[in-house]
């Protein structure tokens, strides 16, 4: 795997649909994704990022704009007692979980590339249930509450992962953006630990994606035994890559908005080449975007990024073959 941009939403402009239609109807989402993947031919394909599904399946109300990400409208968990009122969801029945499974099934049936399913990370899901501000404060004021809620979230995600595996996912990507607010020790306790459990029990490879500047957390992330780490554009990837073992993948980290979505052609060429150049000696490097690409990403930019990557990796392989002969 060498090229795996975090892209799903740009398919919406190809299918001329709305984000809401894609998040609510799996057929529409699959159509949008298939047009995008056929055009760009990445080594790994992701569905549309949607951190609301697990929380919705647990009973949270959502705000569902026509062309905006779905957001949690309320946070039902205020204390430990509230956690006991939650029920573990049934992914075949609750909320839009069955619809997500259907998208993965379509991807699995029709795609030759690796198909990756997203799940919301345990600390992030806990933050959606309790409110991120409240949860983060509780890390210091009421860590037992945080631990209980994170443990519950871990159980929810585990169930969902099993269903995704049954639906044909080749790989799981755990999205854990809220954890970037934590200290390394806090992260280790409330995020790395449950992610380690999820990775250990998952029969297919797992990668972790944390948005923002996760530099301070890299050692603890490496402590999670998984296939690899997807890092955002704020981190200095070549510097961090020195600490990541060679048997783990490093995915990243072109700026998805300023460069890939809306950048000028010269900027794409410069930034992509520069990243490929700086990571040239890392066999475990996969070119990706630092985070999810927005809907109105210029298709020409994406095509250019992908073609530069293919050309670079193709040339490297040719040189390696020359040397081996």
């Amino acid at each position: 795997m060498r090229l795996a941009p975090l892209m799903g939403l740009p398919g919406i402009t190809l299918s001329q649909t709305t984000l809401r239609q894609n998040l609510e109807d799996p057929g529409t989402q699959w159509r949008s994704l298939s047009m995008l993947i056929e055009r760009l031919e990445p080594d790994a394909a992701f569905p549309m990022m949607d951190l609301s599904v697990e929380a919705e399946a647990l009973g949270c109300d959502l705000i569902k704009p026509e062309n905006g990400s779905f957001c949690i409208a309320d946070h039902p968990i205020g204390c430990s007692e509230d956690i006991s009122k939650l029920r573990l969801p049934n992914p075949l029945r609750d909320g839009r979980l069955p619809k997500k499974l259907r998208v993965i099934r379509e991807m699995s049936r029709h795609l030759d590339c690796i198909n990756v399913a997203y799940v919301t990370g345990p600390f992030t899901l806990a933050g959606l249930l309790a409110g991120a501000t409240s949860l983060i404060k509780s890390v210091l004021k009421n860590p037992e509450f945080v631990q209980r809620l994170v443990d519950f979230s871990e159980a929810v995600i585990r169930i969902y992962i099993n269903a995704l595996v049954d639906s044909g996912a080749d790989m799981i990507c755990i999205l854990e953006p809220t954890a970037v607010t934590l200290s390394p020790h806090q992260f280790s306790t409330h995020s790395a630990r449950p992610m380690q459990n999820l990775s250990e029990s998952c029969p297919i490879p797992v990668i972790i994606h944390i948005c923002g500047d996760s530099t301070a957390l890299i050692d603890e992330m490496i402590g999670v035994n998984c296939l690899g780490y997807s890092l955002d554009s704020k981190v200095d990837l070549p510097v961090l890559a020195r600490r990541i073992p060679r048997d783990r993948l490093i995915l990243g980290n072109l700026d998805p908005v300023a460069i890939v979505a809306y950048g000028e052609t010269e900027q794409i060429r410069l930034e992509t080449r520069q990243l490929l150049h700086n990571m040239a000696d890392k066999e475990n490097f996969v070119l990706s975007t630092g985070c999810d690409l927005p809907m109105d990403t210029q298709m020409g930019n994406l095509e250019l990024m992908c073609s530069l990557a293919r050309s670079h990796f193709g040339e490297r392989m040719a040189r390696q073959l020359d040397r081996s002969v």
């Binding site: 010269e266 060429r269 410069l270 080449r273 520069q274 150049h277 700086n278």
Partner: protein, 338 residues
């Protein structure tokens, strides 16, 4: 043809598939990728990337090293001014008094002295990236230039008043340049440019050029030839009165500054010597792309109609040179029909 093949063909006196192009650039390339002078002086890979990226992005045919013509001087004891917004400049000169200072002047060890090891690393990395695609073309000072940096402007007085000492200095600098040139070739240089702006017709008489500048370039070329590397001389200024003197230096090419009449140079030097030049650097900074295209076409018409020519800037371009002017040079060269 690849850029490498095209450039080498012209440097061998032949007519390639299209007119090759190069640009003397250092901080300009760094600016295109958003790096600073400090980045350039302190980071091998940043400079390597800047050169490689700009060659691909702009479509010219050779990549170079960052110091131009100051690295050896710094390694021999000169102080370099490294300041954002300014080209690298030698600002002091260690051979103030021949009696006191000349005996202490060492011979360069390119694998240990000053920034030379990092330049060799840059050349090695550029070759790794560019082998067969772009020509790797680092700089080496002409012995007289090296001497001038070590002596400062007093070197011009030495021409008449202190000739013996100057010759001793030139003999020493020659050995340093031979050592450095060999190291550059071992690192992977495809072509060396011997740079000698200090011997230009703007400052030195034809006679002095022949006696000293020319003499020591000839010696340097003689000692570097056995490596098999291609070599050309870059000499700025008005050299119209001494064009025939470049014929016996055993060089593959001569790069002239914008004051030289390229047509006269071609007529004097014949078809075998590759002529390189000479789009004006001030024009590249200030003129429009259309004007640059016209000037480029004129250069090709004067000296490149039958090949054996590389379109080039007359000297190092400013870091503020508009990128579209470089594109205009490259597109004019690629559209020209021999």
């Amino acid at each position: 043809m690849t850029s490498y093949q095209r450039f080498m063909s012209a440097l061998s006196g032949q007519k390639p598939d299209q007119v090759p192009v190069m640009v003397f650039n250092r901080d300009w390339a760094m600016k295109q990728v958003g790096f600073t002078v400090n980045d350039m002086m302190n980071g091998v890979e940043r400079f390597v990337f800047a050169q490689y990226h700009c060659a691909i992005e702009f479509g010219y045919d050779a990549v170079q090293d960052p110091h131009g013509i100051s690295a050896e001087s710094e390694a021999l004891g000169c102080t370099l001014r490294i300041e954002e917004g300014f080209p690298l400049t030698v600002i002091d000169h260690p051979i103030r008094d021949y009696e006191k200072d000349l005996s202490g002047l060492k011979v360069l060890d390119p694998y240990r002295d000053g920034r030379l090891p990092s330049i060799l690393e840059m050349v090695r990395r550029l070759k790794e990236l560019c082998a067969g695609s772009f020509v790797v073309n680092p700089y080496i000072q002409a012995p007289f230039r090296n001497a001038a940096m070590l002596r400062g402007n007093d070197v011009y007085k030495d021409l008449s008043r202190n000739r013996d000492h100057l010759v001793q200095l030139l003999e020493k600098t020659l050995i340093s340049q031979i050592a450095y040139g060999n190291a550059l070739v071992n690192a992977g240089a495809d072509v060396l440019v011997i740079s000698d702006p200090t011997s230009s017709g703007d400052v030195v008489s034809r006679a002095y050029w022949l006696e000293l500048g020319h003499e020591y370039v000839k010696k340097l070329v003689k000692y570097l030839r056995p490596t098999g590397v291609k070599i050309y001389l870059h000499i700025c200024g008005d050299n119209n009165d001494r064009l025939e003197t470049f014929a016996d230096l055993d060089l593959d090419g001569i790069s002239f500054g914008e004051k030289v009449d390229l047509e006269a140079a071609r007529n004097t030097l014949g078809d075998r010597t590759c002529i390189i030049g000479n789009v004006g650097t001030a024009n590249l900074l200030n003129s429009s792309p259309e004007a640059i295209a016209d000037e480029s076409r004129m250069c090709i018409e004067k000296a490149g109609k039958n090949g054996s020519f590389i379109l080039c800037s007359g000297c190092s371009i400013s870091k503020d040179c508009p990128p579209e002017n470089i594109r205009a040079m490259v597109s004019t060269a690629s559209e020209y029909k021999y």
